[in-house]
């Protein structure tokens, strides 16, 4: 996701003025995403939180303690969404891996059928090379699916707490 361009930056101007412009743009960017959105939306939101965090961390000596606190909040969001993204990546990896195993097993089963056969003998199931692998992969799928859901709930609670505390408005006020 490309970052929004920040207008009005002046290299010869004070760090604090320029930092304020960047923080305001990065906040707008973060709040442009739906926290209940799909995997791609939450991934983009994580990147937006990371950009906000880095500018606040870097410029907090000039912007003051509110920026440092804002950086910690942005880091929390980034971490939660990062862990959620790791679950999505792991689930995709397991799906691909399981698909590959199923393909190999199908090939192996087909090789057992005599030329011109219209039926596969039941005994073929005993010889499928990956038949012992699926149970563990299904267990992992269940684990990462539930973990993702719980992380999303935590993220939503965090997001709602920030809204109640007027995180965005207060940060903008201090700039």
């Amino acid at each position: 996701m490309k970052a929004r361009k920040v207008k009005g930056l002046d290299p010869a101007g004070p760090l604090s003025d320029n930092a304020s412009l960047i923080v305001a743009t990065r906040l707008d960017e973060l709040y442009s995403f739906d926290p209940h959105g799909d995997a791609q939306t939450l991934h983009d939101m994580r990147i937006a939180a990371k950009r906000l965090r880095y500018v606040l961390e870097l410029t907090s000596p000039a912007l003051g303690p509110a920026a440092a606190k804002g950086a910690r909040e942005a880091k929390d969001i980034q971490t939660l969404l990062g862990e959620l993204h790791d679950c999505d990546e792991m689930l995709a990896l397991i799906r691909r891996h399981s698909g590959d195993l199923r393909g190999l097993d199908a090939e192996a089963a087909l090789a057992l059928a005599p030329n011109g056969a219209g039926e596969l003998p039941a005994s073929a199931v005993r010889t499928l090379p990956n038949r012992m692998h699926y149970r563990g992969l299904e267990t992992l799928t269940a684990y990462f699916t539930v973990r993702r859901e719980l992380l999303h709930r935590r993220f939503i609670r965090k997001w709602e707490r920030l809204a109640s505390a007027q995180f965005r408005e207060r940060l903008l006020e201090t700039l």
């Binding site: 004070p14 990956n130 563990g136 267990t139 684990y143």
Partner: protein, 159 residues
């Protein structure tokens, strides 16, 4: 994870360009201080530290972009991104293997074969990632990336 070095003098009425110069110089040095031992797969912390340092530098280069000559900034940012991508190709498998081995320890014998197969696939990706990191570190050395970043940083202050 290694903490970011403090950038002295960012308080007060410093200009955006002066802040850019100080930050990019320190963040560039930081990356290369983690290069030793980064290819050791038994110690995932080195590659993690170098990746985090690369992210911090990349963030600084993006934040302070208007302070630098456009074409040199664009080229060096692209090189930093390429290095970060290579480090990610090694780091992501490290994290995934660690998570899967933790879960495997909780599973019964009947479920472990599937986890082992998946871990083996990720280990192959980790090895390829390590080759990419090795090539990327060699490439940035040939490019003189650290020196060019420091020169870029010093060029940010208007004469």
């Amino acid at each position: 994870m290694a903490r970011a070095r403090k950038i002295p003098g960012l308080e007060g009425e410093i200009t955006f360009s002066e802040a850019a110069a100080r930050t990019v110089e320190i963040r560039a040095q930081e990356i290369f201080s983690f290069a030793d031992g980064v290819l050791d797969t038994s110690n995932p912390e080195r590659v993690h530290d170098m990746r985090v340092a690369t992210r911090r530098l990349r963030a600084a280069l993006e934040i302070f972009a208007p302070c630098f000559p456009k074409s040199e900034h664009k080229e060096l940012l692209r090189e930093v991104k390429k290095l970060a991508d290579a480090l990610g190709e090694r780091r992501d498998p490290d994290v995934q293997i660690d998570a899967l081995l933790t879960l495997k320890a909780e599973l019964g014998q009947g479920e472990r074969a599937g986890v082992n197969g998946l871990v083996a696939e990720i280990r192959a990706r980790q090895a390829r990632g390590n080759e990419l990191v090795e090539a990327a570190i060699e490439h940035v050395g040939e490019l003189g990336l650290e020196q060019r970043l420091i020169a870029l940083a010093q060029g940010a202050v208007p004469s």
